[in-house]
């Protein structure tokens, strides 16, 4: 429960700092600057009063890493219970709608997709839970490209990857609540591509990827996206993206997917590490 409360109400420091720097860069008196000012004020108010900083608390997505041989069942039950409790206490908006009957379950629990639970295993004794809250507006502008895509003059190379990402950012305009962060997966099948793109959003802004060449591409794509001039809220301005996080997956020789997961400025993520009797938030 505390993990959910913290994630919904307390924007991570790296995101807040990136937004503050974006605010500094915008022109005095511009709509972009005033939007960022409101955003920063909102972040502070939400933290102080322990209120969800955005009303769209999205689909709660939990990435759980367990020690080998530990069953996942009890963790699933615990997470669902916490989600119900967090919804009752208004930290989460009830978002789970049955697609057939149109009925909102009112407690954010529904089938296999509310909340989203992903399990992995490691050789350590600790339990690690990463929570990501991503709203529907930015999820809607996420996109997947199949290269080559000649409408974008995008071939199967890094130039093609870059053009695909820039197209996603251009097409999103202000609808994904920029300045945003894009998680990108190159390769994989369609499903794994989108999954990995979303998971890439767990990385902190400014945290370098393992390979130096990837860091250079990320920086180049971010700079070019910011040249599009879409700006905060799509009002026009200097910062459209705060970060680009690339991930590379193995792919079938026939397929070359570029999956782009667009995250709004309210990149709400938190990690809980549970070791022995004690849990710590990172």
């Amino acid at each position: 429960m505390e993990l959910i409360r913290l994630t919904a109400t307390d924007l991570p420091g790296d995101v807040e700092e990136a937004l503050r720097q974006a605010w500094e860069r915008e022109e005095e008196g511009s709509p972009a600057k005033s939007a960022l000012m409101t955003i920063l004020e909102n972040v502070k108010m939400a933290r102080k009063d322990s209120l969800p900083l955005c009303q769209d608390t999205g689909v709660a997505t939990f990435y759980v890493t367990l020690p080998h041989r530990l069953p996942s069942g009890p963790v699933v039950d615990l997470i669902r219970k916490a989600v119900r409790e967090a919804t009752r206490l208004s930290y989460l908006r009830p978002n789970a709608v049955d697609s057939l009957t149109e009925v909102n379950t009112s407690d954010n629990v529904g089938g296999e997709t509310f909340p989203v639970l992903e399990f992995a295993y490691h050789e350590k004794p600790s339990i690690v839970v990463d929570l990501l809250l991503k709203g529907g507006g930015c999820e809607n502008v996420s996109a997947q490209y199949t290269l080559p895509d000649m409408s974008l003059k995008a071939e199967r190379d890094m130039e093609g990857v870059k053009k695909s990402i820039l197209h996603a950012v251009f097409r999103a305009q202000g609808n994904g609540c920029p300045p945003g962060i894009v998680g990108v997966a190159v390769g994989g099948d369609r499903a794994k591509g989108y999954g990995a793109a979303k998971k890439a959003l767990l990385r902190k802004i400014g945290e370098k990827p393992e390979k130096e060449e990837v860091a250079i591409w990320e920086e180049e794509i971010r700079k070019e996206a910011n040249r599009l001039g879409i700006g905060p809220m799509g009002f026009g301005g200097r910062t459209t993206l705060l970060g680009v996080h690339l991930d590379f997956l193995h792919r079938h020789p026939a397929s070359f997917f570029v999956s782009v997961s667009y995250m709004c400025w309210a990149c709400r993520r938190r990690r809980l590490i549970w070791e022995g009797e004690r849990g710590a938030f990172v």
């Binding site: 709509p31 005033s34 939007a35 409101t38 955003i39 004020e41 909102n42 108010m45 939400a46 009063d49 209120l51 969800p52 900083l53 955005c54 009303q55 769209d56 608390t57 208004s90 908006r93 009830p94 978002n95 709608v97 149109e102 009925v103 909102n104 009112s106 709203g135 529907g136 507006g137 809607n140 974008l152 003059k153 995008a154 053009k163 820039l166 197209h167 251009f170 305009q173 202000g174 609808n175 609540c177 070019e224 040249r227 599009l228 001039g229 879409i230 700006g231 809220m233 799509g234 009002f235 026009g236 709004c264 400025w265 309210a266």
Partner: protein, 205 residues
């Protein structure tokens, strides 16, 4: 900064220009995907016959919307013994309502549509005809927006679920910026065209 009191008259709405920051006072009605579809199909397109309860809601909604404002918002609202308390109430993406907005604006004489991301040609045309404006609130700034809601006056279609119900808010100094006006100007169109030219240059380079 300009204070505007709802409902708005024709002269007041025509005086608003793209880029102006406004502070709203009065009644605003939330409506998002299901509410738009319901309003359109039941009362305008007449695809589905209204229930007796729908007809009662319609009369109330008509009064709230005449010269008033629709807010694209799915809030977090808490029920307490003193009534409803608004916890978080930022805007949702407006473009999904594009298929319904113009006929709804015409039918109910809506003078302000509040949301985020801007809207398309149909809504822009309706802004000129009704006349009306599109007001952009800051996406994600839900606590700031919620603090400007003084009271929940009414709620309709709660069976749509909390985010999709139509909440009638009384607001004080609710901040927004005019991004589409009754003269047919749209900041969104301008940013789109500008970024389109730059995008084309980047991909051909």
């Amino acid at each position: 900064m300009k204070t505007i009191v709802l409902p708005l008259n024709e002269a007041a709405v025509k005086a608003l220009k793209v880029g102006e920051v406004v502070l709203l006072q009065g009644k605003i009605v939330t409506a998002r995907d299901r509410a738009h579809k319901w309003l359109y199909e039941t009362f305008i397109g007449k695809k589905t016959p209204p229930s007796p309860e729908d007809l009662v809601a319609y009369e109330r909604i008509k009064m709230c919307l005449a010269g008033g404002a629709i807010y694209h918002c799915g809030p977090i609202v808490k029920e307490s013994k003193d009534g409803w308390e608004v916890i978080a109430a930022g805007p949702t993406t407006s473009e999904r309502e594009e298929p319904y907005e113009a006929p709804i604006m015409q039918h109910f004489s809506v003078r302000a549509v509040i949301g985020k991301g801007g809207m398309g040609k149909g809504t822009l045309r309706a802004c000129q005809e009704v006349p009306a404006v599109y007001l952009h609130a800051v996406g994600g700034a839900a606590v700031v927006a919620a603090k400007k809601v003084k009271r929940v006056l009414e709620v309709f279609k709660l069976n749509f679920g909390m985010p999709e119900a139509m909440w009638v808010f009384e607001v004080e100094d609710f901040p927004a910026i005019v991004t589409m006006d009754a003269q047919g100007e749209s900041l969104h169109e301008e940013v789109f065209r500008h970024s389109e030219a730059l995008f084309c240059k980047l991909i051909s380079g």
